[in-house]
Symmetry: C2
Subunit: 355 residues, 2 copies
């Protein structure tokens, strides 16, 4: 669901999607791609950001009373609410925990705001709350404050959840795209594409031969292990809306570098690959909820990789790319057996309401 | 919209509303009254609260790295989005700022999560964002992180906003219902009922003779002034969903006291009183977004009152009641010229989607 656009020179394939946002919100404004970015750059950043690098991704780090805190928020509108490998409750907890972890923080406290639709079964609410509880325990965080609103039938879709989180960042930690340097290695924590395909499959009732479960999981432990290594971790980013490609492009643009992606090394399970082919989706753009990339200096890559592989679900962690000096070919160059392709932002919406 | 219920013995007036929640969410679960409380007590507190006093109102205070922080969240689903005296943007900023202030905190940072409905006019979004910006500047807080999701047409209602906030609490500050003591005076910061009536009037196109504007405003300055006084402030609470009566009942029950309310001293403007009468609403239960009560020892009442009256919109601040030992008559006794009445929680929903 991508197409040529003036913003993505040389973008190599096309399908019919509106490029111009017009004067009304489209689904693609929430997709994490080009329109989301236009909304952030055109509306939110001018209103709220004191410095241009602020509000570029989902967490902020501030100092309060001598403590360095990460603060993050996300709204969850995933459809269906329950899917293989998770539900809106575990997603809302893990998503915010992961945003904090990507700031280099130890996640500590969460809040939750629920928007319920009149008529929503209380049994389902109980199931979601229990899932949030379990996810919070697993991630080592406490949900300490919340709020509930109810809207009339037809003004919601069962349940939307907004979670915010606070974590603490150790004094020596400094992660962010501006620290990425040519020569850095790009590590990926595991196989990609499972969350998006699991949602799509649950939504459309697709009966793939092998059940594909979401990768939804907390990343705090993996990040803490990396930071304990003492290696200089330059940047961390989870691969949610827009997937691996979008995360890498955003980082490359902010760092003013080109990332060369060794596409053949990106782990994608056979069922995900097959499902993506049937659905016409590029796995590099499919959302994940328990996967991240770490940018580290080449000297630290082997140590960092060993740590990632030692974590649950980290068996397939691998080096997938290298940071290079900026190239006129673009921010993200995927290298395959057949040659190279430049990757750009999604201009449309691949899978609405994936998270 | 209240009726006799086993939970509210002797509740004095009645109208037809379901008492039992059944197995599905009703609008009243979001009304701040009895059903909201049942949801909190029956579902959220067992899942998340380590101590019984947690999760009882909209803010939590925690220590991180030596700093004492208040953390709060609220979702806003107000209808219509724009109303006399405010809009969903200023409401979302002030509401969370006020929750922090009620913890005795200096509000510092906010996050915002937006759930947009496909087709929502970008011009309206721009107007809301600008309103949030102005409200944040006025309240002295910075919005530093955010998130946007889009749902399909018919799965939302234009725009829902979830804001969370962080504030810092000075070491000597200790406010909370458990500190309320018999003999304390109850101070009210201004006239009540304007927010609810403004929303109702905008929603139903009611043409009252005098335009009634919402009282939506940040309360951080007033609270900071009270705390600077050095007086022992026992408890602070803003008068949102459920209004003055619900706030007082919650505090009285937690503190195991009875509050005697001098109903004739509660400032209610003539237009609000008239509109409430026409609409059949009890002003004591109407939501406010810029009003609060402070519980202070009798010795500090005059000083605190002078401070409140010195603030913008504080001209009508007054002492409205006294804390007494617990009485079998109930948590909140309203004293009027004609006699006394015991007040209980709303069992139905008075004005859905008031905030």
């Amino acid at each position: 669901m991508t197409e040529p656009s003036p913003d993505v020179p040389g973008f190599p394939f096309a399908c019919p999607m509106p490029v111009e946002p017009g004067d009304a919100i489209q689904l693609a404004h929430g997709g994490g791609g080009l329109l989301t970015r236009k909304l952030i750059d055109g509306l939110f950043r001018p209103a709220f950001a004191a410095r241009p690098e602020e509000l570029t991704h989902d967490g902020a780090v501030v100092e309060i009373g001598g403590a360095r805190l990460a603060f993050s928020t996300d709204s969850y509108v995933v459809r269906p609410l329950f899917f293989p490998g998770g539900d809106i409750g575990s997603l809302a907890v893990n998503g915010t925990v992961n945003d904090l972890a990507m700031c280099g923080a130890t996640p500590l406290y969460l809040s939750a705001g629920l928007v319920l639709e009149e008529g929503f079964p209380i049994a389902d609410l109980r199931r979601v709350v229990e899932s949030m509880r379990r996810a919070a325990v697993k991630a080592g965080v406490r949900l300490i404050t919340g709020d509930t609103k109810v809207v009339e039938r037809g003004k919601g879709d069962g349940l939307y959840v907004a979670t915010s989180g606070i974590g603490v960042v150790a004094p020596e930690v400094a992660v962010g795209p501006s620290r990425v340097r040519p020569g850095d290695k790009v590590l990926l924590s595991g196989d990609i594409g499972r969350h998006g395909i699991a949602i799509m499959s649950a939504r459309e009732g697709l009966g793939f031969e092998t059940a594909i479960e979401s990768d939804c999981a907390p990343l705090g432990r993996s990040v803490a292990a990396l930071l304990r290594l003492g290696a200089d971790i330059h940047c961390l980013r989870d691969l949610t809306r827009g997937g691996l490609a979008t995360a890498l492009i955003e980082i490359a643009e902010t760092a003013a570098v080109t990332i060369r992606l060794d596409e053949a090394r990106v782990p994608i399970s056979a069922p995900v690959r097959g499902a993506a082919e049937i659905l016409g989706l590029d796995p590099l753009y499919i959302a994940n909820e328990g996967r991240f990339v770490a940018f580290v200096p080449e000297s630290a890559a082997d140590g960092a990789l060993a740590i990632l592989r030692g974590e649950a679900a980290g068996a397939e962690a691998t080096v997938i790319g290298t940071v290079e000096s900026p190239s006129p070919a673009g921010a993200l160059i995927a290298h395959t057996i057949g040659g190279e392709r430049a990757l750009g932002f999604l201009t449309g919406e691949q899978l609405p309401r994936i998270c």
